[in-house]
Each structure stands twice: as C-alpha cells, then as structure tokens.
Amino acid sequence: MTENYDVVIVGGGIVGAACAAELNGARLRILVIDAGKVGCGTTGASMGHIVVMDDSEALLNLTAFSRELWLRLAKDSASAYEYLPCGTLWVAADAEEMDVVYQKAKNYEEHDIAVEVLDHKSLYQYEPNLAQGLAGGLRVAGDCVIYPPNCAALLLQGIEVRENCNVCQISDNLVSLENGSEIHAEFIVNAAGAAAPKLTAELPVEPRKGHLVITARYPGFCQHQIVELGYLKSVQKMEKESVAFNIQPRPSGQYLIGSSREFAGWDDSINRNLVNRMLTRACDYMPALKEMLAIRTWFGYRPAPMLSCPPPPHVFLSKTRVGGDAGAGESKNGGDKLPIIGNWPKVKGLYIAAGHEGLGITTSLGTARLLAAEILGQSPPIDPAPYRPSRLFRENR
C-alpha cells in the first residue's frame, strides 16, 4: 500500500521539526517520520545554545539569521521554549586570545551583531567565579538558550508525525519504511541527523560524539553561557578526541558542562577519560565547580559534515592559533564545515537538511527558511550557495 504526501521529512529532531513548521504554512500535506520520539535523538542530548559563530562568512550569516528567527519565535512563548536570554561570554585566557577577541568583535560588528569587548576588570564584574588570571573576553548579549526537546515538539504541533517508525530507503519520490510500506512524496527532506548517510549514501556526514555533565542546583553561580576561545579550535581541528570548556546556566539553577568531541563511530558508552579531561578543563576555568555535585553524564552524536572540498579562506582567523588548520597529520579536515542544505540532484524530489555539527539547534530555523524557499520556489532569505549539496560534486578530491 503506498501512501501519498506532498512532503515527507525524515527526522523529527530540531532540524526536521523546523522544516516541517516552515512548510506548514504553505498548505501542503506534510508527514514527519522519526525512528524514536521527536526531539529525543541528538536534539535531546544537546545544549540548546543559540549562538552566532564567525568561523566563516557563510556560517556567520546562517547563525546570525537563525538567531534572529529564534529571538522572534521564543520571545512570544518564552516559558514553553524555556528561553533564557543569557548571552554568550567568550573567554580569552591570554593576550594572544585577546587578539582573537578584537578580531571577532570586528567581524560581529560588521554584521550588526552587538558585542561588548571585556577587559580583565569587566570580565570578573560579569562572572566573578571565573578563575583568576584570565585576560578578558567578548560578550554577545543577543545569544540565548532554549530547551531543545520541547522546542522540537512545539514546532511540530499541528503536523502529522509518525514516531517509532524506521525508514530504510529514500529513492525517487519514494520513502520506504522498514515495515514494508511505502510513501510517495513530491518533496522528501533527509533531516536524519548523524544517521542521514544511512539513507543518502554519499552524504559526507559522520557522528561526532559529545559528552555533557549536569550538576545539582546552585543558583547564581554564573549568568552567561561561557565558552573558552579554544572551543573554536576544538570544532575545527579534526582530532580524534578534544575538549573545550563550555558551561551553560539552566533556568533550574543547574549547570550544563561541556564540551567534548570525538570520532568514535556510534560507540554508546561514556568515555570516562574524555569526561575527566572535560571536567578538568572546566575546573581550570571555574575552580568552584569542583564543589558542585554532578548528577548525570550523557552524550549525543553531532552530525559532522566531512567534506573533501577545500574550505573557503578563513579570513578572520587565519592569523591566530585558533584558526582552522589544514589537518596536518590528523584525520580529514572536514572541508568548509558548513551544513548541507538544498536539493540533492541524484534523487528525484530529495532535499537535504543535514550536517549541522554542533550548531543544529541554532541554525535549524535558518535551515528551514532556506529549504522552504527552495522547495516553494521563493527567493531565499540569505545566499544559499555556500550550503548547497551541489558543492560536494564540484571538486573531486
């Protein structure tokens, strides 16, 4: 028996949910399919940090645009999304990192993102619990935090969803389910996160595991999502394992502590050594964390884009040590590290919304707008070219 829909979205995580919500206004019959419960995969494991990232012009555009959409969406139903306008505080450990701060400030200001450069004094005025001896930082007040699982569910309100349903194949205008049935659709969106390559074999996306630790409640310890500048390096350098300090205050008064990155396939155990390194790093930046109780550790699989096409010149960061390396001696360099959004020319009706690495929550709304514009034949809100799947076939390396 073959069912018929206008749009089938495979993946009910934040990206799939955002795409569904965006297309919902266009009077299309939409079906969202998820292998489990919506928002309970990588989305459920994630931090929910909405952050503007300036690794590249294209990433800055996408994250800035998406952040604006989040601010508009979450402000109206702040409690439903558990919206917390805490801002991001990028911490510079020394003079060299302060140079990065100045460069970042320039990048952001050129794109109308309000920032505040913090010197040694003002850094501690904002966050007195930071370790002594740090140089300063960059405060991005417009960044915020939401709670991803509920956001995905909220975005999917009023949309037909099929949970605990496995898709085994996507072919020309056809979605085949594990139970044998098939669904015909004019538009199919592969938003299956780290599992996207299982359905679109050539998608260069790999699981990049990340751990998080949550503490008991200690209200008032920190106000911002605090991230060390080395975080950027951790994202860009394709090391087998890396950690970078990242802490988020939850509305509950608990603290989410990250971050770690590792290429471990689909390994489903806690990497104690890596968690240890991650927490040690966190305590380097905020020593009082040592006294806090850790309640639980968990992990998620970021869908990391592993492109072989060369990255665009990292104009902003090429002069500093936190810039993207060309993978000297390590595993693949991951290419431009941008998500893959748009029509997949090799399969009829197929669109991709995948490869968001650690920015899935942030860029979900922007991704949805881009995708909807392409599907509905409207003019795109930002330049879609850098994210197009067609870039994967341009250069064969």
Binding site: C40, S269, I270, T280, C283, M292, A294, R296, T297
Partner: protein
C-alpha cells in the same frame, strides 16, 4: 590471592564477605552508609540488633575483611570500582571478582498528599527511628504492604509512638496463606511475627459506634497491635499544612479519616540494581505476582532484578563497560537484588556467592547452602505472592499528584507520555538528584515503563572528586 570486592554491607554482603575471606580471598566490603547492616540489620542508637546479626558482625570482625563504610560506589570501569568517600576524594578499588549485594529500596506509590512533611516510607521510618528520630507520642499511621509493616509498627510502638492503624492492602485470605506458609517454612519467623502483633502499644481504639466510619478515632488506649491491623485497607490521601495532619483510608467500599502526625507508607521492596546495570549484568523484568491464584511464580516483584545462575553468577554482555572487562565469571550477585526474598535467603545467597567467588563452589558446604536456598526460595515465592499489589493501587495518584519529587512532575503530565526516556526529556521527570530511583519504580508499576539507561555517576558526585582520579 583473589581480590574480592563486595558492594553492600547488608546481610548478603556480610555473609559473602565472611565466606570469601574464610576461603582465603582478600576481601573488601563497601557500604555507602556510616554503619554496616543494610536495611534489616540497621545500626540503631538505642536498640540492639538481632542476635543473628550480632553473630555475623562478630564473624566479620574475626575474618579480616577490610570493611569500608561511608564509601559509595559511583562508577565501575574495567576491573575496578570507583568509590566516593564521605570525607572527600575518589578511590579506585581493583577486583578479581565483584559481588553485588546492593539490596533493595522501598516502592513508594504516589498518592495525594504523599509529599507532605512527615509522610515517609516504612523502612524509612524505621531507619530514622534507629538513627535517633524521636517518636514519642506521635500518632502514626502505617500503611502499604508487606511483613515490614507490622515489624516497623511494633518498633515505633516500642519507642512510644501511638499507632493509629496498620493499613495493609493485601486481603485476609492472602494473609492467612502467608501465616500458614510461614509456619511451614520459617516457623521462627512466625514466632517473631506474632511477637510484633502482640506488641503492647498505645493504639487507637474505636469509639462506639464505629461502623458509621467517619468520626476521627482520637482515643488511644493500651492494647495489642493486632487490634489495629487492617487488611484490605490502603491510604487514599494524606492531608495537612506544613506537615501531615490526617489521612483518608479506604477499603474500597467506604472511606474514613484518621488523625496522623506521621505516616509510614511503602508498598514492598524493589531491587537496587543500578550498579549491576552499569556493570552490564543481565537484568530480568520481574513481573508482578498478580494474578497469583493461577500459581504463576512470583520470584520477583516490582522492578528489575539481576539474573544469576545456581552459583549466584551474573550473566554479562561483553564489551558493555569500559575496556578490558570480562563478563560472567567475575560478577556475582546475592540478596534482594536477585529478587526480593527476605533476610535468610539473602544470607544463604551471600554465602554461596562468597564461596563461589573464592573458588570453593564444589565443596559440601556449598551444596548444603544450595539445598537451603531451594527451601528458602519457597518462602520468598510465598512472600511475593501474598503481598502482591492489587491493580486498583494504580488508581492512587490523581492528576495533580506529584510523581517525580525531585522535579515536581505530576501524574497528569506523565500519564500521556509513552516511555521513561522521552517523558524525562519532555517533563524533567527523573532529572533530579535521586536519578529516577524513586519515580521510575513507581512508574514501572503505574505505567509499565522500563527504567532509563544507567549512566555514571551512580550517585551525585562532587566534580572535584571525579577529576581527582
């Protein structure tokens, strides 16, 4: 010398440690509480422990076991356990064999008002009493299910509490069967039970006429405990302001109010299998014993239990934990975690596990213990069948009754969810410091949900302790 680590210094753990040490192994016995004894042989500041417990404690002293209390196992990796010490710091204790004797915790079924101060568990009330909580003159309602109810009521009465009633949900018929069975399998326990029932106590006696039911029974007179032991009765609601003041009891046909300064209520025990789960030991979903009149075996109760073979060896799935961990021959489990069955069975299982871990499983001693265990398991089955929870208890919580106490998540928010994991992500149920121990047992009974995957740390652990390894 075989290094054996025993986790849990209750009857099973103590028995295991003694047998293992006597068989020549180097034994470390760990417990997170300040004193050994677990639940049944809990240390008490005023009252002495049972004679049997004293004998085992003495034996433990003599055999040279390294007893480490106030040390909580928070993780297990490869062939070592990581313990958090009360005074601070983390220690890694290597083992050749591990014996899990982590016991059980009470099943708390949520009912309206159960979160009021002075509403606690039955074992909880006993634990607090033994730790020094003053009970004199408090009007106590004991409720729930299990032989623990009258044992604890007797303890409280001895300590000066006024027992309003002991409300046992199981029926008179089941209780009669239990009494007869106990007489057959564990006559000593029967004597003990009768002792509790005959305990002199200030109990609430009805003011005549009482069959109209709704008047508060405020008169307390010296009498025997059995006079206020009411089968087929359960707590419908607890009411109060800054603490509990009164309860509504019911027998399914009518309801009535009783005064209460303290409520001790719990519906039996659930095996504490988190460490076993983290270690990758095979667990079995224990089915409730209802309907038991078909003779369906009810070896387990609510909750999951650790599956063991005749030598108390766990079954493992290779590669589950860390690196370099080898399953089955290294892991043993004894006592309530293999299924609720009482102290005597726990001791026997502990002895077998201790002998087997030390390589002495083929002797006559082990054979005798195995035979003893067979007999004791009959009592365990009787215990579980007699006190099987009636299905109507699933109707206890109202929509606004809190189920997850750590995060204040209500039954209304949960009943439309489909499973523990997504319910946790959507409602925060299970995200608190009890790590789902209280709510997931209740939800397993109420909604048939499997508990969530266990992750380290097994108990909230200071981050500084985590990184000190």
């Amino acid at each position: 010398m075989t290094r054996i680590v025993v986790v849990g210094a209750g009857p099973a753990g103590i028995a295991a440690a003694c047998r293992a040490a006597e068989s020549g192994a180097m034994v470390t016995l760990l417990d997170g509480e300040p004193y050994p004894g677990g639940g049944t042989w809990r240390h008490s500041i005023d009252y002495s422990v049972p004679r049997k417990a004293k004998r085992w404690f003495n034996r433990l002293d003599k055999v040279g076991v390294s007893l480490r209390t106030s040390e909580t196992v928070v993780d297990i990796t490869g062939c070592s356990v990581q313990v958090q010490r009360e005074q601070g710091g983390l220690d890694s204790i290597a083992f050749d064999k591990l014996i899990l004797a982590t016991g059980a915790h009470e099943l708390f079924l949520p009912f309206p008002g159960w979160t009021l101060p002075n509403v606690m568990g039955v074992g909880g009330a006993q634990a607090l009493l033994k730790a020094g909580m003053p009970m004199k003159r408090l009007r106590v309602v004991v409720g729930g299910s299990g032989p623990l109810l009258f044992a604890v009521a007797a303890s409280l009465a001895k300590a000066g509490a006024k027992i309003v009633c002991v409300a046992e949900q199981t029926s008179r018929v089941q209780l009669a069967k239990f009494a007869l069975g106990t007489l057959r399998y564990q006559p000593a326990r029967m004597v003990q039970g009768m002792g509790y029932m005959l305990q002199n106590s200030k109990v609430a006696r009805p003011s005549w006429p009482c069959f109209h039911g709704l008047e508060a029974r405020a008169t307390f007179r010296n009498s025997r405990l059995w006079r206020v032991y009411w089968p087929n009765t359960w707590l419908k609601e607890a009411r109060g302001d800054s603490q509990v003041r009164e309860v509504i009891l019911t027998n399914g046909k009518r309801e009535w109010i009783e005064p209460a300064d303290l409520v001790a209520c719990a519906y039996g025990l659930v095996p504490s299998v988190e460490l076993a789960a983290l270690a990758g030991c095979k667990l079995s979903v224990a089915r409730p014993a209802w309907p038991c009149f078909h003779g369906l075996e009810a070896r387990g109760t609510i909750g999951n239990r650790v599956v063991v073979d005749h030598l108390q060896r766990c079954h493992g799935h290779p590669g589950r934990v860390g690196t370099g961990w080898k399953p089955v021959s290294r892991f043993f489990a004894a006592g309530e975690i293999t299924g609720i069955g009482g102290t005597d069975l726990a001791i026997t299982e502990g002895e077998i596990a201790g002998l087997a871990a030390a390589g002495k499983e083929s002797g006559t001693r082990a054979a005798k213990l195995i035979a003893r265990r067979e007999r004791q398991q009959k009592f365990a089955r009787l215990l579980n069948q007699s006190f099987a929870l009636k299905p109507h208890l699933k109707q206890l919580p109202a929509d606004d009754t809190i189920v997850c106490r750590c995060e204040d998540v209500t039954f209304g928010e949960l009943k439309n969810q489909t499973d523990q994991r997504s319910a946790k992500l959507y409602t925060r149920c299970g995200m608190g410091p009890c790590q789902g121990r209280v709510c997931s047992s209740a939800l397993q009974y109420l909604l048939d949900w499997e508990p969530n995957k266990v992750r380290p740390p097994l108990f909230p652990t200071k981050i500084g302790v985590f990184i000190s390894k």
